[in-house]
């Protein structure tokens, strides 16, 4: 066996071993990113979608005559139904919309159905003999909402070989609790396409 051939035979396993070692010792790094940057890691519902929907819907709602003309209308947030095929925390969408509107100071929010148990539990707790009667809240003082906010999120997903296309549509509606009229409604559409290769 020639020296050159022997070197080549020795070189290949050595290279493979070095690669395996390098892969095993690959250094993991963690860095902080921009929480408000455009996130395109995967095709699934992500932070940018959540932020865009919340901002777009909250700003649109600020233009609604019921909000513009009203004197700090009281709104309660109901469910945004997830009609997509993936798991989406729709509560995060309504929480973000509520936070944006609340900060803007144009709308007040009444306790919603999901927070009702905690609210009544706290009232009951304050009725307890251990609390000062004069400082405790009384039953029957809660204020009902004039409007309720509800909506849907739907998606259409299409896959062809190396292409995956996702279309999201969020529809929100603001209903007048007293007369059942739809006071405002808007939609936000998002399309994301991933191509492989």
């Amino acid at each position: 066996m020639s020296a050159a051939l022997r070197m080549r035979r020795l070189g290949l396993p050595a290279l493979l071993a070095a690669l395996a070692l390098a892969a095993g010792c690959a250094k993991e790094t963690t860095r902080y990113g921009d929480a408000r940057g455009v996130e395109t890691v995967t095709n699934e519902f992500g932070s940018t979608d959540l932020q865009m929907i919340a901002e777009s819907m909250a700003r649109s709602m600020l233009k609604a005559p019921a909000i513009v003309s009203g004197n700090l209308p009281i709104v309660t947030v109901q469910e945004v139904r997830n009609k997509t095929s993936e798991y989406i925390d729709t509560r995060a969408i309504t929480d973000s919309i509520r936070a944006e509107l609340q900060k803007g100071g144009k709308v007040r929010f009444a306790v919603d159905a999901s927070g009702m148990t905690q609210q009544t539990d706290e009232i009951k707790r304050q009725q307890n003999e251990y609390y000062n009667r004069e400082q405790s809240v009384e039953k029957g003082q809660m204020v009902g909402a004039e409007y309720r906010l509800e909506g849907n999120i739907t998606s259409i997903v299409k896959r062809v070989e190396d292409i995956k296309d996702v279309y999201y549509k969020v529809n929100l509606q603001l209903w007048n609790v007293r007369n059942g009229l739809l006071e405002w409604s808007d939609e936000k559409e998002i399309r994301k396409t991933t191509t492989r290769g």
Partner: protein
């Protein structure tokens, strides 16, 4: 001499009156409905230069027109973005809201991705999140 100065003053007044009635500049401190403060804005290009900021990778997409109005006590903005290139452009944008003292009136908005077809316009519109927002900047960056 006195006669000449009277004529000059009259001319200047007529010129000023002419400028004041120019469309888009009816209200002092505003151009096309948008707040401009003490800045000198004589055209739509000046307004765009004043209000648009590029951050990060620069994009060739530029606003060609920008108009403001009010919805109650909130500023409403329409901005027409133009892509005059022969390729589709992907950009991201956000608005920055400024109060009367020049401080931020609202937290930094999320970047919003946008696709604009070749040789096409795209209208973006928004409304201020709070009545404290007295001025704004449109921030653009390339997403290519």
């Amino acid at each position: 001499m006195k006669h000449a100065s009277i004529v000059a003053v009259a001319l200047a007044s007529a010129l000023a009156a002419g400028c004041a009635s120019k469309k888009g500049f009816e209200q002092p401190g505003y151009a096309y409905g948008c707040p401009i403060g003490d800045a000198k804005v004589a055209s739509m290009d000046d307004l765009v230069k004043l209000k648009v900021v590029m951050e990060g990778s620069r994009t060739t997409v530029v606003p060609t027109e920008m108009r403001c109005s009010r919805s109650g006590d909130l500023i409403r903005i329409d901005a027409n973005l133009n892509n005059d290139s022969r390729s589709v452009k992907r950009i991201a944008y956000k608005f920055r809201w400024i109060d009367r003292e020049g401080m931020r009136a609202w937290e930094e908005e999320a970047w919003k991705p946008l696709l604009i077809y070749n040789n096409a316009n795209h209208l973006i519109n928004t409304v201020a999140p709070t009545e404290k927002a007295a001025d704004f900047r449109l921030i653009l960056r390339s997403q290519e």
